[in-house]
């Protein structure tokens, strides 16, 4: 009998066919109605909703590297809407509602798992701030609860809630509808549907200049030639300042490394997501089994997609403080993205002083959860020339008017 083993062969000669490609790789056309700069989650979702909700399909998404290779590929996928202020509740809860039906919407598995998020409180001040946030959330119809330490232990039995630790757990906020999703699948799901709707997803195409005449944007210069555009929508995350400078805009952003790490694969032990601003770490367990951990940004500005090792060391020390059970787990991998941080820890989404040039940036350490929501609202802004009510408060001008949306309490270590 002829078998694979007794026939001469070269390695790889009997591989199955390549799986279907999820999108074409077209060359750029000379002109588009809308050019979206940045092929991360936000750019892809914006393009998708421009087509789906507004019927605009002559769109290119330009990506300098590969699709979703920036923060979209590097984030720790925490999704929640338990921010303090009404403005934030509006846009983040809009996004969370979209997550709840996104798998059907995209007809693609995204492994959205509403396993809940705990934000731990370790001091009296933490307790007060947390309860205030729970009350604010409840007034906004968001499923927030305050849990006492014994209730925390019921939700997540492996958290150390004993009083015999340096920073005892005094309780936690809990949002049961929060959770995680598979970031790559989310990007690919949006990319596939955008492609099906006729949108050109163009990789290896770096925008190097923005053409403006008479105060109006007319196109972009790229490493693959000039592309004319009726409108240009910036969604370049960590590189937003660089893009802004091309259009003469100075933005209130600082780009920082943000690191994360995963452990080796473990049996399912961690049923939810746990974050602690005070002990300075957050931990979840991915579907595959790795523990996923992160914390705050590296302090200095950085565009290098890497950070310092002592930051990682501190994150692991903090994780052990909360989860002694992880003492024998091995770190498998660490990495960093470039996050664009604003002075009030809230994003900037809207119009710019340049006509037909739109800006989405400043999501810093927490924009993955906003992917469908911001795609929806930014698409509305670009299509109609007016901000959607959910992003209307998130203007660039708020730094002059003083109408800041200070979310440092809900966004420091927590993403």
């Amino acid at each position: 009998m002829t078998t694979y083993a007794n026939t001469p062969h070269t390695p790889g000669d009997v591989l199955p066919d390549h799986p279907d490609f999820l999108w074409r790789n077209p060359d750029p056309k000379p002109s588009y109605d809308v050019v979206v700069v940045g092929g991360g989650g936000h750019g892809l979702a914006t393009a998708y909703y421009l087509a789906k909700n507004h019927g605009i399909t002559n769109i290119a998404v330009l990506e300098k590297g590969w699709l979703a290779g920036g923060n979209m590929a590097r984030n720790t996928t925490i999704i929640r809407s338990n921010y303090l202020w009404d403005e934030s509740s509006g846009i983040y809860e809009h996004s969370l509602k979209l997550w709840e039906t996104l798998e059907e919407e995209l007809d693609y598995p995204i492994l959205f798992s509403q396993r809940g998020v705990l934000n731990l409180a370790h001091s009296l001040q933490d307790v007060r701030d947390s309860r205030r946030r729970v009350h604010a959330n409840q007034l906004n119809g968001i499923d927030a609860e305050w849990l006492e330490p014994d209730e925390v232990a019921k939700v997540c039995p492996i958290v150390n809630v004993s009083s015999d630790v340096r920073y005892p757990v005094h309780g936690a906020t809990y949002q049961p509808r929060a959770g995680i999703a598979k970031h790559d699948y989310v990007a690919w799901g949006f990319a596939r549907r955008a492609n099906d709707l006729g949108i050109d997803l163009i990789q290896d195409c770096e925008v190097t200049g923005i053409d403006i005449s008479d105060g109006r944007v007319t196109g972009v210069r790229t490493t693959r030639g000039r592309i004319a555009a009726g409108k240009v929508a910036l969604a370049a995350a960590g590189h937003s300042s660089v893009l802004g400078a091309m259009a003469g805009l100075r933005l209130p952003l600082q780009s920082h490394p943000l690191q994360a790490l995963v452990s080796e694969l473990l049996e399912p032990v961690h049923p939810t997501v746990v974050m602690s601003n005070a002990v300075h770490v957050y931990v979840s367990q991915a579907h595959k089994g790795e523990l996923v951990m992160g914390a705050g940004i590296d302090s200095y500005n950085g565009y290098g997609q890497r950070g310092a090792f002592h930051i990682i060391e501190r994150q692991m020390a903090a994780a052990l403080e909360l989860f002694p059970v992880f003492a024998r787990a091995h770190m498998l991998r660490t990495w960093a993205g470039i996050v664009d941080v604003t002075p009030d820890a809230s994003p900037i989404v809207g119009l710019t002083p340049v006509r037909d040039l739109y800006l989405n940036c400043g999501w810093g350490t927490g924009g993955f959860k906003a992917t469908p929501g911001v795609g929806w609202c930014f698409a509305h802004t670009v299509a109609t020339g007016e901000p959607h009510p959910y992003n209307a408060p998130f203007t660039l001008s708020r730094f002059t008017t003083g109408a800041l949306i200070d979310e440092h309490g809900a966004a420091a270590v927590a993403h």
Binding site: Y300, R306, A308
Partner: protein, 115 residues
């Protein structure tokens, strides 16, 4: 761990240092004279270059003194360190760096001068 050269103590580990953001931003001479736009620029807007950046560092766990550094934000390499009050050294291989200040900002007596 990256070593940072303190102008007073020499090379020490990065964890001993505290970051202070963009250097050479002078406090406005007369804050009341600024309009909202100018005040916003001073308070909230800082350069965020991809490449060499003149910035402030403090040797927090050492001599506790502030100094300035020219650092590449892509490679994280320190191109130069210099004392507060000194102008930023030229970026190797380029024209001398220029630095923007907030509109209406004037260096105050006893504060570092803007180049």
């Amino acid at each position: 761990m990256q070593l940072i050269e303190c102008p007073w103590c020499g090379a020490r580990e990065e964890a001993e240092f505290h970051y202070g953001g963009q250097a050479h931003v002078a406090h406005p001479e007369d804050p009341h004279a600024l309009d909202d736009e100018q005040w916003a620029r001073y308070v909230f807007f800082r350069d965020n270059p991809k490449g060499p950046f003149a910035e402030r560092w403090a040797h927090a766990a050492g001599c506790r003194r502030w100094f300035n550094a020219l650092r590449d934000t892509v490679t994280h390499e320190f191109l130069a360190v210099y004392r507060v009050g000194d102008p930023p050294p030229p970026v190797p291989g380029t024209a001398p760096a220029t630095h923007r200040t907030a509109p209406g900002a004037q260096p105050r007596q006893g504060q570092e001068a803007t180049s």
